[in-house]
Symmetry: C2
Subunit: 421 residues, 2 copies
C-alpha cells in the first residue's frame, strides 16, 4: 500500500490564482514521489475578513450558526480552485467539503472539536489514483449542521485527517521556514530547529511562538502523527519536523527561548489567610473563561494574617479580569488590586533539561548579570519562565539564546518588524 502524505496550505499560500498554481506544483511533486496525497486548504487570503465585514454590516452580533454557514464558504472556493489547478497540470484531483468527507464535530459553533472523520470516500478516491483536496477549518454535526473549528482550525483538520488515514506525515506549509530557537526578528542569529518534540513545541507555542496553534500540536501528539512545518515558497528548505521525544536524539538541554509580551500581572493585596479564598477567586475567573498563567501566593504575614496573591493573565483578558476582581472585593476582603501591564514572560524550553540540573540557575545568573529583576518564576518539566520588565525582554532573550548555545552561524533571512515593546 502506498504511503499517504497530508499537506496543509494556509490562506497566504492560496491568496491568489498564481499562488494556487504554485501550491498545485508542490502537491504534484509529492504525488510524483510515489505517495498518495490529501491536501487541506484554508480560505484564500483575506476572504474571511471580507465575509466578516459583510456580516457586521448586517448585524452587530450575528448568530454563531450563520457565521459558520458564511465562513465555511471560504474554503469551498479554495478547494475547487486548487482541484482545477491540479487537473490543469494533467493530474486527477477531486475536492470535498467537510460535509462530503464526514468530518464530524461537536454541535458547538465557531469552535467545534473534531469527534470523528469518515475515511471511506477518501480511501476510495485515493485508491482510484486521485489527489484529494479537503476543506480545512470546517466540520459537520450528526444533524448536518455546519461548524467551524476556531483559531488554528485548518492545521487541526490536517492533523486529524492524517491521524484518521494513518498517514506517514502531515506537512504544514506556511509563510515561515520552520520552528526557530527564538524569534528571528529579535535575535538574528536564531537557528531553525531540524527537529522539536511535541511537548517542546507546545511550550514554545504557549510561550508566544505562533507557528502552529497548540490544538493541532496536541492532536498530533495524541495520535503520534509526525508533523513538518515548512515554507510554501522556499522548497529547498525541509523546515522543522515535530515528533515524539522518544524518537529524538537530544543533544542540547534547551531547544528554544521565547518571550510573551501580551501578559499582565495582577496582585490582590492583603487577602485574609482563610481556606477557600484562592479557590473562589480562580474558580470565578475560570467561569468567565479567563486563563490564568503564573500564580504565586506569598506566605501569610504573621501579624495581619493576610496573603498577597499574584497571577498573570493575557492583556486581552485584563479588562474582564478586573471586572471580576472588583465584584469579589468585598468577598475576598482584599485591601488593594495592583496591575502591572509593563511586563514580559521570558521562557526557556527543552525536553533535555529534565535530567540536567543547573539549567534554572544558569538562567537566573544570566539575567542577574544583566541586572534584570525577576518578578515571578514558574516551572514545568521542560520549561522555566521568568516574569521581567517588558523593556528587558529582548535583552534577556538574546542573552539566554546565546548562553544555551542556540546561535547559528548564518543570520536568518526573515522579514517583518520587531514585536512592539
Amino acid at each position: 500500500m502506498k504511503k499517504i502524505i497530508v499537506q496543509k496550505f494556509g490562506g497566504t499560500s492560496v491568496a491568489d490564482t498564481d499562488k494556487i498554481k504554485n501550491v498545485a506544483k508542490i502537491v504534484i511533486r509529492e504525488k510524483q514521489n510515489g505517495n498518495d496525497v490529501v491536501v487541506v486548504v484554508s480560505a484564500m487570503g483575506h476572504t474571511t475578513d471580507h465575509l466578516v465585514k459583510m456580516a457586521k454590516a448586517l448585524s452587530p452580533n450575528p448568530s454563531a450558526r450563520e457565521m459558520d454557514m458564511l465562513l465555511s464558504t471560504g474554503e469551498g472556493v479554495s478547494i475547487a480552485l486548487l482541484a482545477m489547478a491540479i487537473q490543469a497540470e494533467g493530474y486527477d484531483a477531486v475536492s470535498f467539503n467537510a460535509m462530503q468527507v464526514g468530518i464530524m464535530t461537536e454541535n458547538i459553533h465557531t469552535k467545534a472539536r473534531i469527534l470523528d472523520i469518515k475515511t471511506d470516500k477518501l480511501r476510495k478516491n485515493l485508491d482510484a489514483g486521485k489527489i484529494i483536496v479537503v476543506a480545512g477549518f470546517q466540520g459537520v454535526t450528526e444533524d448536518g449542521e455546519i461548524t467551524t473549528l476556531g483559531r488554528g482550525g485548518s492545521d487541526t483538520s490536517a492533523v486529524a485527517l492524517a491521524a484518521a488515514l494513518n498517514a506517514e506525515r502531515c506537512d504544514i506549509y506556511t509563510d515561515v521556514e520552520g520552528v526557530y530557537t527564538t524569534d528571528p526578528r529579535v535575535v538574528p542569529k536564531a537557528s531553525r530547529l531540524d527537529e522539536v518534540s511535541y511537548d517542546e513545541m507546545l511550550e514554545l507555542a504557549h510561550a508566544g511562538a505562533n507557528v502552529l496553534h497548540p490544538r493541532s500540536v496536541e492532536t498530533a501528539k495524541q495520535f503520534a502523527v509526525p508533523l513538518r512545518v515548512r515554507s510554501s515558497f522556499k522548497l529547498d528548505n525541509l523546515g522543522t519536523l515535530i515528533l515524539g521525544v522518544d524518537k529524538m536524539e537530544i543533544f542540547k538541554p534547551v531547544a528554544g527561548v521565547a518571550a510573551d509580551l501580551q501578559q499582565a500581572r495582577i496582585v490582590v493585596c492583603d487577602v485574609p489567610d482563610r481556606p477557600g479564598i484562592a479557590a473562589g477567586l480562580f474558580g470565578k475567573l475560570a467561569k468567565e473563561n479567563i486563563s490564568v498563567d503564573m500564580i504565586i501566593q506569598s506566605y501569610a504575614r504573621k501579624i495581619s494574617n493576610t496573603n498577597d496573591i499574584a497571577f498573570t493573565v493575557t492583556l486581552a483578558d485584563l479588562p474582564k479580569t478586573l471586572t471580576v476582581l472588583e465584584s469579589l472585593k468585598a468577598e475576598t476582603g482584599a485591601s488593594d488590586i495592583k496591575v502591572d501591564d509593563n511586563i514580559a514572560k521570558v521562557s526557556i524550553v527543552g525536553a533535555g533539561m529534565i535530567d540536567r540540573p543547573g539549567i534554572a540557575s544558569t538562567m537566573f545568573e544570566t539575567l542577574a548579570e544583566l541586572n534584570i529583576n525577576i518578578k515571578m518564576i514558574s516551572t514545568s518539566e521542560i520549561k522555566i519562565s521568568c516574569l521581567v520588565d517588558k523593556s528587558d525582554a529582548h535583552k534577556a532573550v538574546e542573552a539566554l539564546h546565546k548562553v544555551f548555545g542556540l546561535e547559528c552561524d548564518e543570520i536568518a533571512d526573515v522579514k517583518g518588524d520587531l514585536p512592539d515593546v
Copy 2:
C-alpha cells in the same frame, strides 16, 4: 395549518448588504401577514462572474464537477447573510444549502434537473416558527456530489420547493415589475399583465421575453404552482400572476407580442425528395444539441425531384449548425446552403385565440399594410409566429400590439436601451 409562501430573490436583489436588508424587510412583511415563509436566494450580484474568472485563470477548461463545487459557494454566502439580516430585525431564521435540505438532482454537472426535494427538515423548522432561507441554483446527488441547475436555476429551485411544500404561491422577486404585453423598451405603451397562463408565459419566454426561464414555468405548470413575478424595489406593484388557464377569465384573444432577434434562417437547397433525408438532417442537429425552431419543407419540384428545406436556429448555434451541414453535404446532395441572419421572429401569443378565428388573418393583414414581407410562418394552438426582416421587427411589434388592443393608457416607466436591430 399556516399557508406557505415561497419567495425567490435573484442576484441583483441581494447584490450588497443594503439590498439584503431590503430583502429581509420584504420577507418579514410576508411573515407578518401570518404565512410561513421559505426564501430562495441566488448568489450576490457579480459573485458568479468573479468565481468564473478565477477558474479560467487556472484552467482553460475547468471540470464541470469542480465548477459546481466552486459556484455553489456563491449562494452559501447570500443565504447566511440574509438569515443574519432577518435575525437582526428580531425574527427567527435559519439558512440551509441544497445538501442540508436534500434538493436531490440527477448526477449531471452544470445543468442537473431536480428529482426530489426532502421536506422533513423544512417542515420541522417552519413548525418551529422559523423563516427558512434556502440556496437556489444548487442540488446534490444521491452520492453527495454537488450539482448546479444551469440557467434559470434559482427560479426552478423556488418553484420546485413550492411544489414539494404544497405552497400557496411562489413569488419571484426581480428587477422588472412583471410580465408585459410586449417589450416596454420597444413599445412605451406596453401594459403589465395582471395574469397570464403558464402556456402563454412559456410561448412569450421562448419568443424572447426573458422574465423567467422556461424551465421554471414548466415546473410551475406541471405542479400547478401559482407563480407571481414582481419587483423587489417597487412593492406597491403586485406584478403578474402566472397560473393555469382554467383559473383565468380571458377577455382578449392575444395576451402579448414578442420579437426574437437572435434567429438565423438556413435554406438547404435542392435536396433529393427521398424518405429519410429530413430525419437524417434534423437527427444530426439534435445530436449536437442544436434546437431547431421553424421548419418548412417546400413541395417537391416535379422536374428535378428535389426539395428546399428551410429552418431557423439561434444565432449562437449558427456556426455549429453550418459545420454539421457541411459534413452532411455529400450525403444530402444539397446544391447549396443559404444563410440569412438578418431576420427576426415576431409572434403573437394568447390562450384566447384558440376559439376565435380570424386572428391569423388579422396578423397577416396588419403586416401586409406595412409592406412587411413574411418569410416563414409557424403556428401553435396559442401562438402565431412570422419571420420578417430584422429591420421590420419593431414596426411589426408596435402595429400588432395596437391592433390587438394591448396598449395601456399610461406609458410604462422602464429603464434600459432598446435591443439592437
